[in-house]
Symmetry: none
Subunit: 195 residues, 4 copies
Amino acid sequence: MTDSKGSTRVRAAGAKRQRLMSAAAEVVHRQGAERTTIADIARAADVPVGNVYYYFKTKDELVAAALSEHARRLGTLTGGLDALPDPRARLKGLVEAWVSQRELAARYGCPTGTLAAELDKRAEGGLDAEAGRVIRLLLDWAERQFRELGLPEPDGLALTLVGAYQGMSLLANALREPGVMDREGARLLAWLDSL
Amino acid sequence: MTDSKGSTRVRAAGAKRQRLMSAAAEVVHRQGAERTTIADIARAADVPVGNVYYYFKTKDELVAAALSEHARRLGTLTGGLDALPDPRARLKGLVEAWVSQRELAARYGCPTGTLAAELDKRAEGGLDAEAGRVIRLLLDWAERQFRELGLPEPDGLALTLVGAYQGMSLLANALREPGVMDREGARLLAWLDSL
Amino acid sequence: MTDSKGSTRVRAAGAKRQRLMSAAAEVVHRQGAERTTIADIARAADVPVGNVYYYFKTKDELVAAALSEHARRLGTLTGGLDALPDPRARLKGLVEAWVSQRELAARYGCPTGTLAAELDKRAEGGLDAEAGRVIRLLLDWAERQFRELGLPEPDGLALTLVGAYQGMSLLANALREPGVMDREGARLLAWLDSL
Amino acid sequence: MTDSKGSTRVRAAGAKRQRLMSAAAEVVHRQGAERTTIADIARAADVPVGNVYYYFKTKDELVAAALSEHARRLGTLTGGLDALPDPRARLKGLVEAWVSQRELAARYGCPTGTLAAELDKRAEGGLDAEAGRVIRLLLDWAERQFRELGLPEPDGLALTLVGAYQGMSLLANALREPGVMDREGARLLAWLDSL
DNA sequence: TATGAATGAGCATTCATTCAT
DNA sequence: GATGAATGAATGCTCATTCAT
């Protein structure tokens, strides 16, 4: 019931860190990593600029944090889908989740995909590999569903599915047409049913 | 055979501008628009920094030039394919061209796609729409082929084809696996044959 | 006598800002706004260049600060004169103050006047109007004195007085003759007595 | 009657030079010397940038040319007034000429005065002295008229007259009020009559 | 002479990162 | 831990001047 100052502080500190990660995820998705300044993120998280460095030693660490925040959100999504008994239903649920984000996708693209594309242009840091790892998480989850369905080459199917998602997000974004998400989403659902 | 002084100068000037466009296309593809400095492009084109501004008034104009250079190359590619009598063969030729670029795609992604993703995060300038327009060129070309084949919803098929390309490029890039291009390329060829 | 850390910091920060304003006022008066670089002001204020932007977001803001510094000094001058009981004595005190600055005027002109002339050539920014406002302060003060003397058309008299000051400063400056200030100053004193 | 190519060329060259001087006078008056680029003047004179340097070796020479163009125009004005039999009428004619330029003065100030103020802030070049010389021409002319009227201290009267002109131009400009020119102009006319 | 093109020094501004308290 | 302030390297862009023809 009582909170020692210490634990309050720790909790507050943890909250601050989380606030920074969340803000980083949002702002970086919207503006891209390169155009996002530490000050942007600090402002969004309502944390003084000088204080950010207590939680993240470099900007790259903050970008990595944004990435892992997106991974966490992806985990929450697939974790929820795992409750469904049918693997096919899980995959279709994933596609439906994508389509439900159509507006965001048309405006800013897939958070992980666009970040991956951006980070892959960097020579230094190793952040590029990090983005690949998050995408691999998604691929692995999809592959598990396809395998559970007993389909051949579940890894190839996962590649096709996730590739289609990245492609449709990019097109919706580049053309600024959320409708692309609906159209391609419907096609993917039909495809999943046909397997 | 002989060159008047005048035409030499004009040709040289044109050559320099072309050299800058080409350099911009390459460097921007490799480093991204944001991380590319005017100096980078100037160095790659072997042009003094100050002179770049004689040809392009702003960095944005140079990025636009890079984009249109990619559009030009795309035009060259599809223009060549147009010589083929069969639309299906043209589409398959396109996919094969994509696959043949697997190494570049795995390292830097699709030039137009990654640039579109980057530019779409900008509020100012009209550069974002510009990238969309280049992608639309590709979509339109593909749609024409599908229509010539007498297939229903040629625009949707084009969306699926180009989307698959963007997706596979992004995955190959994020995972640093050129093999993705081969695998998905083969699938696309089979799909085209099945239509 | 003792300074808490906080107040020291605040005072130091305020002192730095003031130092920048003061340096800007001086350097801009000497070199003109256009020929003055941020580095010039930073050097004069003994502040690292990059730090200047913590206090003033643009060069224009610094020029505006220089202007308001001059307005402040003008306010100090007229404020001191307000202590005199006789309005005529106040006006003559103003003229005497001008004459006492003869060397500075002959070298660099009236700070506000020359700045106004320079800024009025700019289309952008609202800085031109700003200079006019400072001059209006002087006009208004003079008008109040003339009105208190019960003279007709006090605004016209103020215009004549301030105009004469601007004119003599400009001539003294253009001819590099401080004597112009003495000569015209004496005439103004006689004129004030004759009213 | 016949024009050899040579003389045509010379005449054309002279015309070009004059066009440049005239353009320089106008543009520098409007934008100030510092904000005026060689390209601005070249454009206004319809002369290719590279060619400007054939007529004026440096930008400073062009500014000096602008100054001497203003001196020439001043000479034309006073030369015209010299035709009047009465010196007082000449002086009043000068004031009336000033007032007739009220709009220009309110917008850009006196060409010579503002240029003098700007150039006097320069250490190098000696252009500053040049501006003083043009103003001296005006002072001398006015002094001659006052002397011819048999008035004491004609040089002081000239100083007062020209100073008033500079002052009213500056105020009209700073306040953006052409009315200042009318008001002070009327006062000067009355003053001339009272002498 | 005429002219488009070339050159490089200089400047305002941004921003990640560090420091002092 | 918290915070405003400090720091300096980097970058886009301008422009007077020069060059090649």
